[in-house]
Symmetry: D2
Subunit: 381 residues, 4 copies
Amino acid sequence: MTLAERYKAVRRRTEDICSYLQTEDYVVQPIADVSPPKWHIGHTTWFFETFILKPYVMGYQDYNPDYNYVFNSYYETVGARVIRTDRGNLSRPTVLDVYRYREYVDEAIYKFLCQEPSPEVEELFILGLNHEEQHQELLYYDIKYILGHNPLFPAYNPQYSSPEITEQEGFINIKEGVYEVGHTGEGFCFDNELNRHKVYLNAYQISTALVTNGEYLEFINSGGYQDFRYWHAEAWDWVKTNDVSAPMYWHQIDGEWHTYTFRGLEPLNLHTSVQHVSFYEAYAYATWKGMRLPSEFEWEVAAAQFNWGKSWEWTESAYLPYPGFSKAPGAIGEYNGKFMVNQKVLRGASEATPPGHSRITYRNFFHPNLRWHFTGIRLAK
Amino acid sequence: MTLAERYKAVRRRTEDICSYLQTEDYVVQPIADVSPPKWHIGHTTWFFETFILKPYVMGYQDYNPDYNYVFNSYYETVGARVIRTDRGNLSRPTVLDVYRYREYVDEAIYKFLCQEPSPEVEELFILGLNHEEQHQELLYYDIKYILGHNPLFPAYNPQYSSPEITEQEGFINIKEGVYEVGHTGEGFCFDNELNRHKVYLNAYQISTALVTNGEYLEFINSGGYQDFRYWHAEAWDWVKTNDVSAPMYWHQIDGEWHTYTFRGLEPLNLHTSVQHVSFYEAYAYATWKGMRLPSEFEWEVAAAQFNWGKSWEWTESAYLPYPGFSKAPGAIGEYNGKFMVNQKVLRGASEATPPGHSRITYRNFFHPNLRWHFTGIRLAK
Amino acid sequence: MTLAERYKAVRRRTEDICSYLQTEDYVVQPIADVSPPKWHIGHTTWFFETFILKPYVMGYQDYNPDYNYVFNSYYETVGARVIRTDRGNLSRPTVLDVYRYREYVDEAIYKFLCQEPSPEVEELFILGLNHEEQHQELLYYDIKYILGHNPLFPAYNPQYSSPEITEQEGFINIKEGVYEVGHTGEGFCFDNELNRHKVYLNAYQISTALVTNGEYLEFINSGGYQDFRYWHAEAWDWVKTNDVSAPMYWHQIDGEWHTYTFRGLEPLNLHTSVQHVSFYEAYAYATWKGMRLPSEFEWEVAAAQFNWGKSWEWTESAYLPYPGFSKAPGAIGEYNGKFMVNQKVLRGASEATPPGHSRITYRNFFHPNLRWHFTGIRLAK
Amino acid sequence: MTLAERYKAVRRRTEDICSYLQTEDYVVQPIADVSPPKWHIGHTTWFFETFILKPYVMGYQDYNPDYNYVFNSYYETVGARVIRTDRGNLSRPTVLDVYRYREYVDEAIYKFLCQEPSPEVEELFILGLNHEEQHQELLYYDIKYILGHNPLFPAYNPQYSSPEITEQEGFINIKEGVYEVGHTGEGFCFDNELNRHKVYLNAYQISTALVTNGEYLEFINSGGYQDFRYWHAEAWDWVKTNDVSAPMYWHQIDGEWHTYTFRGLEPLNLHTSVQHVSFYEAYAYATWKGMRLPSEFEWEVAAAQFNWGKSWEWTESAYLPYPGFSKAPGAIGEYNGKFMVNQKVLRGASEATPPGHSRITYRNFFHPNLRWHFTGIRLAK
């Protein structure tokens, strides 16, 4: 696949995800963590305009200079930005305007790609495409939140079906010793996966299957959300303050548990793996079960031996730099390093992850209280 | 005009106001005081469905039972409602859905109006139409806020033109004595305009013209926003906390004052009357000028002697019940009485007020810190 | 009584109020509205130092220049001040230091009063003494709050006894007409009681007795705190947000109602008048009863015909300036005018009011949600 | 030393620390993280009463059953507790009451210790004494905050002198390899120091000296607080929101830097190590310097080769359980595990740490934004 073809495929996939939306769905931002879909459409476009077209295409004309202000996300280097919680207040640019902007930038990119780009530019392209894939995943999270918190519970796509992952129950034994972790080889990786380095692991066991809705329901029914002993102190405050008593999207209707899916509200399937739990809940569940969550290195070392990819898996590990980690200079360098405090690492991938986007060394990260993304629980001991 | 014709005209006017909007403009809610335009469209429809169709039309089928939840405003009597600050998080029902709902209700109303309604029902109609006219005015406020706080400053209507009111500068003298205030006669009025009653007024003078942008600019330039002596204690906190230094929609660009109008951002016109000031600012201006704001009764007694209608005029009066005021029973009774604390009365009308909607006894009311509505300043002494 | 004698008596009374306190009781500030007692001791002293000693005594040496910062209250004119909510964070100056400061200032004042002061200074003295009497009343409110919100419910004074007011149940009829209200005569009054002016009152009836605990309990037992129809919209939010279900200081222990008094926790006396209700509650009670609260003018016109003085009585009136009201220049002018928005007038006096401090034209004022002061309910219709 | 002698010495030391305080200093709580000194006095007493006297002394009479409510800290197992932010609102029990309570419990303990306690009880004693030593350290932090944030800047003790630590500038080289970390041997340790386990470390260099005030001032003067590139994203928000521009207790007076010490406000000593920086600041300084903070294991492995003990040293490590960590059952088990999220490990000890309390495997932990404790910066690369 040429770079242009790959560019086209990734860009197209973003639009495909949004093809099920109504115009209004593109606009709202029910909580600060969620961005309006039209913002994702514009921001991924702004990325290519700002980091490729403006610096490398002589005479390139901005589509609209104000868009830098509107579609910048957290890049302090490149000027003012709309405060994140304000994104949902902006009715303009309209969805149509944003798609026009996207088309304009795409055309300029295709023209630019008629000639072979330099390795440096190609690297930026690869980063930009991986960046867009990350926003594709966020789009799924945000769309689910927007529709799943609407009192009408509209379906995103009545035909939506999740990938099935075959899991066998059991525990894998890993021996004590020095292991290597981190990215190696030629392929693309994010800066946070480097450098490959050695870690010492004690002997441990790790489950081959994720915790199911049925198993999690036992935790709920045994009073897990009412017993502070299973929770971190901050988690317990979170439970109390937000009156949490079940995973996100679970609703008890006339005594029966339901859950919102992309097809709408459905009876809870007990046999599928639990989703939309926070780290706090994953930890509390593991504690209740007398086990624990794996560290990210335990996960990475064992991962070749089990199936993964339905849900991002919370690990006990804090999101920290690897030995020898260094940020790229400039705006690109703001990508990962500055988030390396107060977040937890998740490993694997989810049904919302673009095919081929993740890998065994991939480090996803979120604050421990969040759960609008597609999370799951794997136990260790 | 028959009731059906009047109904048609009012309903049509609401849609005309919105005809300049993009779909996205209907959806957002940048602050709690502003409602998304589609909510106004739905709520005014819900009013006729709830208070006329459901109780008086046998066999009437709800368009959608969930809409009661979505479009109720503050009527505690008629069930749960979407928390006001959440309205802007709802992408569904879509704008098209809401217009379909409107059409469905309108058709049922027209059918119902084929027969002469009872006086009781006619009264409800009149209330519903006045209620819709109030929302027409709110639509103007909210649309201006939504577009005027967008970093692109889009025009609502490039041809928009404000009504001109002819004002002559000067002061009217009113003699001390007992006067009658409050509504009288056959026409419609809100419950808060009753009963007509006597008040004793001291001799006073009241200006025939509103304060202009130019005059207000003198207050700014003389340091009015930096001198606590002109402000109430709560007002001074408001100024400091919100870093207020000019009326809403004023922007100083390269040293020149501009203001956002329905036509977009324009240089400030010094000769037109100042708009979008809070009561706090109106009071501070009057104090700086060595004068004061009129009471609502001073305004009413003198109003026949000056022109009004460009901007609602802040009065010194708190919004309180007239002697003998009593609330209607049921949900309709929630209309006015429950707001009679901590608000200030405004008199007159604004360029956003539907023609014929206001009158000399009309009592508008807002919290003293608000200024997204079309306000102005008339001085007394 | 000479001015020096009067000064001595008032100053002494402040110290007597505090004589029941432990050192620790002087220091804390459980909510922003409450000030630590040592702050009252210092602030009333600061008032005489700032407005009399510094301007009128040549060569007067500040006791400690930092105290201006610590003991200023809300006088913007005279420099920086400790933010009100921070007062309870200050362990220094100690209680002993504050009493030493008080003694130092008192001595300077007595020396100054060896010579006859000018009428202008005498007026400042009278204001300062009335100001101190107001703080004596606040001391009672604040001490009650500090001890009554302590989980140990300590008594302030086991021998404390409230004054008894003889009340006869019934309603007084007042005829429609023009009445005069506001202060007149030679005696001291605050600026907000001027000017005496005419008002027109409709015929009304006003109760000769305050609502009792037993009557108020009927309101509670009939579900008054659960029925939004009795409440203003803002009041209903207040009830819900703060989970209010009874007057302040009421506690239901094993099914029996108790109330905290200056003697400690005691069974509720059904026959005494209800205290510590907010305006919101007074209004809701009156509405439930099918009556209303009097306006401040209705109260003033009728007051000679009933007994008052046990509790401040909420009126329907907003706190606004009288015709011709003007603020004194300088810091003294900050006294009253700047609070004339969003507050309600209370009339009468309470058991915490210094003898002789109040009068029939006295206008007390508080925000409608507050109730840590000694409030009560008188009905009108 | 017998257990009784050791008990006496530790208890005495707490009282010695407080001997410089005025009664008022015992009462206030300027921020949620700070506890009033009298609460520390009572809470450390409550610990011995609750975990030793009540379970092991037959017929022991509570000093006051309400004190369980007042002096419990975060032990959910043992009943209700005063919300942490409310501690500063309690004037009662008085300081004298709390000392009486302390005496009462001490006498009961001494009587109990006349007989040799069981090993299980002895272990509880050792924990209780270590717990009290931790509160001795917190007392220093809290007292410094209370006096150092008072506008009068009173001295705690004019003769106070910090321990001098001899540091030689330079870097120690540690070779790559497997190392053992964690507590070993007979002595007391907290559960979070177990189990001793192997870690793999890459080669690194670690400084023998802490960063000085003078060096830190260079960071400030070079614009370090204005350049987002040195900061984590959350840190940058913290800097902006709190308007941070220097370590806590630094004040620029007439262009000269001063710092509050236990002796009062003093000119900044450029040659002593910087204190009262948050993890965010420590990280930003290290980034600006082109270096990094050590991990807690890098610190532990190298610590025998440098001097430490003046300030707690921020590490890059998140506070997480060691392999095989398990909580003790019951309330004692709430001690450490439940804080193992969102906090950073600090190693070493500070001038406020009781002699002999810390050790090379000791793991202190705080949220990354805090800095009222005695912190410092050691660099690694």
